[in-house]
Amino acid sequence: MGPVDISKLFCRRRFPKGIALVPILVYFPIGLVLAILRVFISFTAVIAAFLLRSLPALQRVVLRVLLSVLGIVVTSDCTNKISSQVLVTNHITILDEIAISLVVHCVKPWRNSISNTTSWLLGYTDFKYETGKQAFLENLKKYVAGKELPVLCVPEGAITSGQTALLKFADWPFLLEEDVQPIAITASRPAIFNVTLSTLDSSWTSDLFWFLFVPYTHFHIKSLKVVEKGEDESTDQYIQRVQGVLAEQLNISTTQYTAADKSQLIKKLYLEEQQRHRDAEIRLRRSQTRSPSPYSPATRSHIELLADRVKEVLPHVPTAVIKKDLGVTRDVDATITNILEGKIEFTPEDLNPVKKDTIEKVPSKSLLNQKKQTFSKNSKERQKSFEERKQEMIEAARQRYMAKHGMM
């Protein structure tokens, strides 16, 4: 594995910075109209490709013309004749396979990353990828043994910028035959409209839009010499050798990062981005707290402080309920009063349930026939009632005791 950092393998930005952005901005209205027109032309291209699939030679000519109208120009250097049943290529855009199939007559195995209908219309061949690697491999092997058309494989499994390094190759294309033929694909756009072909986390629809937006995208396809598996060579060594050959042609390095590592990187960057947003939000909130207006959302943390004080007194009241009332009263005592006086409805939180056995130990037999009690609003009446109840309780207990012990 080279010392290349994985994030260097992909473009992060769709557009160039600074002055280079100006021509793109100027061109934007034209590009937009062009893209819309080309969307309709692309339907024609898809239909033409579909109708002419029994006449592959004619199909390729027609498609080449239609695709150049769409801004997809393909040139090739096929000095090394296609002579292997298995072709492997690097992966830089969503249209790599289509571009190659314009110059090389081959089959494109159907990958589950594209929707079924789309891949069928675009002339992919179904080798039952979704049934699992083993079955997929068997199907491909059977096909390759028939020696009809070469199979075009994309062993990287994920798009890179094509500028820095290759991802690790998957092994399946190398298990089909004893040789493979590498194909190097490069793509470029006019220097003044240098919109990135594909960014780290771009969707195929956005990539396609920018294909249709820019005046043209130039693909260059070069077939390399067939690489045969050495007799004493392990599959791993063989795969690495092919990767090396292709990388050398492209003048980039090789890595052992896989398509899964790319997904991880996307996830990691996404999470970091989220964290940055959260931090920014917290900073914003803090700076707002210092603002004096009592009704701005800034007083949030102040309310939280007050809520803590209420919670200390009334721990069973849910914090949300406390905060809601504090939002109105902005006063600890007023909120406590509101809650205690039952002005606010809430479901008590069971913070520290009393042990059941503690309660069960309480005598179950009624010792006193307590009347339905009232709680007067008048302090004196309450106190009178309290005194009376105490006397009643002692008196009743005395009577009961004397009755029980035959003292009467």
Partner: protein
């Protein structure tokens, strides 16, 4: 925070008055001072203290319910978990950090979720089942452990005394 303490005590008083636990009455001695309460606790049935009505005082700190109240029986009561001066020694009356006896499980400690009612119910449990492992009154604990008939006799006298029958 004294205002909050007052409000909470008022709420508890109201709760205890409207829905009193069986055999328990509690409230401020004089509403001029809400931090001094009096409670009457009836000895649970089928225990040595059956039928007695025992008065106790509860003294609340200004930062109640952050700190627990102090509870003291104002009658003579011979019990392993009650000091000679009447002070009640049970875990619910201690905050988690404060552990003079080093015996309590923190689960039953004082916290603002506890209440006067829970304290009084714990005291009723304590009357029913003395805990002689953490004795406040060593004599009482010894008697309870070694001479149950004598303990019953003393308890009986306490009950009669509490009812003014002795």
């Amino acid at each position: 925070m004294a205002g909050s303490a007052l409000k909470r005590l008022m709420a508890e008083y109201k709760q205890l008055t409207l829905n009193p636990p069986e055999g328990i009455i509690a409230g401020p001695v004089d509403e001029e001072n809400f931090f001094e309460w009096e409670a009457l606790i009836t000895g649970p049935d089928e225990t040595y203290f059956e039928g007695g009505v025992f008065p106790a005082s509860l003294t609340f700190p200004p930062d109640y319910p952050l700190s627990p109240p102090k509870m003291k029986f104002t009658c003579d009561i011979f019990h392993p978990n009650i000091y000679n001066d009447g002070k009640v020694c049970i875990s619910i009356l201690h905050a988690p950090g404060d552990d003079p006896m080093g015996y309590e499980s923190s689960a039953e400690r004082w916290s603002p979720v506890q209440s006067v009612e829970k304290i009084l119910l714990s005291v009723v449990s304590m009357l029913a089942e003395p805990n002689d492992e953490s004795a406040a009154n060593v004599d009482a604990a010894k008697t309870w452990r070694d001479n149950r008939p004598k303990f019953a006799e003393i308890a009986e006298r306490t009950v009669k005394q509490s009812l003014g029958l002795l």
